[in-house]
Amino acid sequence: MLSFAIRRILQTVPTVLAVVLVIFVLFSVVPGSIISSMNDDGRGPTDPQVVERMKKQLGLDDPVYIRFSSYVAKLATGDFGTSFRTREPVTTMLAKRMWPTLQLIFASMTFAIVIGVPLGFIAALRPGSFVDTLSMVLAVSGLSMAKFWLGLLLMYLFALKLGWLPSFGYGDGGLKYLVLPAVTLGVSPMALLARTTRAAVLEIMTADFVRTARSKGMSETRVVKWHVMRNALVLILTTIGLQFGALMGQAVVVEKLFSWPGIGSLLVDSVLQRDLPAVQGSILVVVLFFLTINTMIDLLYAVIDPRIRYA
């Protein structure tokens, strides 16, 4: 098991290196810079002297390969650089934004799992029934709805019409501020989990080993609990893992909409203002989060199904 874990972790290293290279090159060639973004509201004329000094200070005139080697050297020591915009270390900025994003992602995923998995199970146990149709309508709708639009609808209903929840902001970080953004972000993975669970359970229900279990006189509850659920879990876990990792990227829209102070809104602001160190740092965190979750899921497979670790 240990060698499997080490092998799996080492596999992520080339991915991280490739991501670092791609992000750096990509944002080095896109037009615009922190200097042009400083004046994007047209408030004041660009001061050519300040521009030249900023270029020198930020090393913007250096060739890409020099900037890249300097960036990688710093990164190797855990230094993500200094933000062009805030003039703070990027690690400090990321640290401030990490907890709100994790709160949002965990809350969204909890919502998705608690609603989506049982919904898929119930639908699969009664295929073609009203519950099945309803759950699948919900699932398809959840997958199809744009998060921005859904968020606005939820704001309108639960904040403006019912007055139950605040429509925006982080407040004191309490639950009432978390509900709307978490549900907005969680609907899509919830829908996907419902569909995946339903499909997995339906497939397993017709498998030979389930038929054998039933023919042996095992009760339906035991069949579902010991054979169906356990075997469906691998597929459900895969979906959970992929969705969990992807949520940090998807949080971008939700965080901006709800003024949620996470990594997603930091990323958007940094891209718009061409704050390259902050962009690189934010994307790297998203990628690392995705890889970590997926590695953990892979390790979990190996626990659930020992055949995987020998594959």
Partner: protein, 529 residues
């Protein structure tokens, strides 16, 4: 005053502020403002940023030598009690307030002003406020590392400061924004300052949740007796207009900036119509033209473009009347605006004639660089394409991000571009963008060069007679109209929705969201405690 007249004409919400003045301000409560311009606050070190978004909270936290007086439409001394002018208009002796305290309890002195301006001129840090402080003699030497201190700043005593300028300008226009805020010399140098800023403003720092909000609380030792009225001030970042709309209707915020679509919706809603406050801001929207592109080197072609576009139709249909038609460069609220001027008439026949006279009877094609901005970007360009096509001019659109557009303009990498640019409050500074000595990389984006224009502007800079200066600037503005280095589109009408319980809103033509927050107060109907 021109500004007052405009405010009376434009201010649907003026009744709201007039009523406010008639009432006795209530002490206490929380002011909940919004920062609507998309992004997070740049930094708690306000010297590092010139974005409008950041100055919203900085108005609570910091103070500069001058402050913008919205009622008078000009900068007035703030940290100085008076300014004595001598040396042929180049030397200003400021009698500083002796009752201004920093939030950590120490009294402000001339040393703090000198320290702050020296800091801004630190060439290694490239602070954007350097373009203002550079107006002081010896500041450039500090920026270049040739001197440690600005020679043109002299401390006479703790509360008297002498400032020698390099040009005969009104320093009020240079030292009223947060970019030149006065920091405490002892605390400002510490690394912790950026995490817990200290200023001279009416509110002191409580917390900054990056990407979400800044919270400030009343500073009891603020130098204006009885002010600020409110106990607390929260500035929430709300870039999404639709989300801001819900929050405003839900009474979670006290102010919201409205775009064209919301402006129409709020006007049509009886419950919200009374919340609208509007002002002609000192921003001019225009299409900049590159004279190195041969057809644009001919004045008649530039004039033809101004005649070929029905700007009024675009303002009415697309911008939903959230703008005023531009006549020339200087905006309505500029002290040098000439109200007798009429904008270019929409006259396609005349445009065709001008093109024919210029040697382009069948027109020509040009590339137009635009951002996606709804009020002065791609939607506007798309509406103009058929209008120009009618006179034979074809347009190829090049879309770029807003952040890229400024660079395109600065580098002159365009045939034409559409932009929104600050054209005030100082009319002389606004017109200086067309002076031949101003580089394209500064703000002379159309590389305008005209000896008569330069002469007018130079004379305006030299004269001590204010009325004559205005006359000269008006002439320069009229010359620009005739030369048409740009297509004059509109002047921004800033529109804000203000909850009925928030009183004392000022119609600030430099930026409506920038409020002297010590004058704001909330009545007992505010849901925020």
């Amino acid at each position: 005053m021109m500004f007052k007249k405009i405010a009376i004409v434009a201010g649907l919400g003026l009744a709201l502020s007039v009523t406010a003045e008639a009432q006795t301000p209530r002490k206490g409560g929380t002011i909940r403002m919004t920062a609507p311009y998309g992004s997070s606050f740049t930094s708690m070190d306000i010297h590092t940023t010139q974005r409008a978004q950041d100055e919203i909270f900085a108005k609570g936290l910091h103070r500069s030598l001058y402050i913008w007086d919205s009622a008078e439409g000009k900068p007035v001394p703030e940290l100085a009690k008076e300014a004595i002018v001598s040396g042929g208009g180049l030397v200003y002796t400021f009698k500083l307030r002796d009752d201004a305290y920093f939030h950590h309890g120490r009294k402000m002195t001339a040393d703090d002003v000198i320290w702050s301006y020296n800091r801004i001129m630190d060439g290694a840090k490239a602070y954007p406020g350097a373009r203002f402080v550079r107006m002081i003699e010896g500041a450039s030497e500090v920026e270049k590392g040739k001197a440690k201190e600005i020679s043109g700043l002299k401390k006479i005593d703790d509360f008297t400061l002498e400032m020698k300028l390099t040009e005969k300008v009104d320093p009020g226009f240079y030292f009223f924004t947060a970019l030149t805020s006065i920091y405490p010399a002892d605390e400002g140098a510490k690394d912790s300052f950026i995490q817990k800023p200290i200023g001279l403003g009416p509110f002191k720092f409580v917390e900054h949740v990056p990407g979400s909000r800044v919270v400030l609380e009343r500073f009891d030792k603020f130098y204006k007796p009885g002010k600020p009225y409110a106990d607390k001030m929260i500035v929430s970042i709300m870039g999404e207009a639709a989300a801001r709309d819900v929050a405003f209707r839900n009474k979670e915020i006290d102010t919201s900036v409205l775009g064209p679509a919301q402006y129409v919706a709020y006007q049509a809603d009886p419950a919200l119509k009374g919340t609208i406050v509007e002002v002609a801001e000192v921003f001019t929207r225009y299409m900049g033209i590159n004279p190195s592109f041969k057809p644009f080197s001919d004045k008649r072609v530039r004039q033809a473009i101004n005649h070929a576009i029905d700007a009024d139709l675009i303002i009415s249909k697309l911008v939903k009347n959230k703008a005023y038609r531009a006549t020339s460069w200087l905006p309505l609220t500029s002290p040098a605006y000439d109200k007798t001027m009429k904008p270019y008439a929409f006259d396609p026949a005349k445009a065709k004639q001008l093109l024919a006279d210029a040697g382009y009877p069948t027109g020509f094609e040009f590339e137009w660089t635009a951002s996606q901005n709804e009020s002065w970007g791609l939607p506007i360009v798309e509406a103009i394409i058929p209008m120009l096509d009618r006179v034979g001019i074809k347009v190829k659109v090049k879309q770029v991000e807003t952040a890229v557009l400024a660079e395109v303009a600065r580098k002159g990498e365009f045939q034409a571009f559409i932009y929104s640019q600050a054209t005030g409050p100082d009319p002389q500074a606004a017109l200086k963008c067309f002076h031949s000595a101003t580089p394209q990389s500064a703000c002379n984006y159309t590389a305008f060069k005209n000896a008569d224009f330069d002469k007018l502007l130079d004379e305006a800079g030299q004269t001590d007679d204010a009325a004559k200066r205005v006359q000269l600037l008006q002439k320069a503005n009229a010359l620009l109209y005739d030369e048409a280095p740009v297509w004059f589109f509109n002047y921004n009408k800033a529109v804000m929705a203000v909850q009925p319980w928030l009183k004392g809103i000022q119609l600030n033509a430099t930026e409506l969201t920038h409020q002297n927050v010590e004058d704001l107060w909330v009545d007992e109907t505010s849901p925020a405690k």
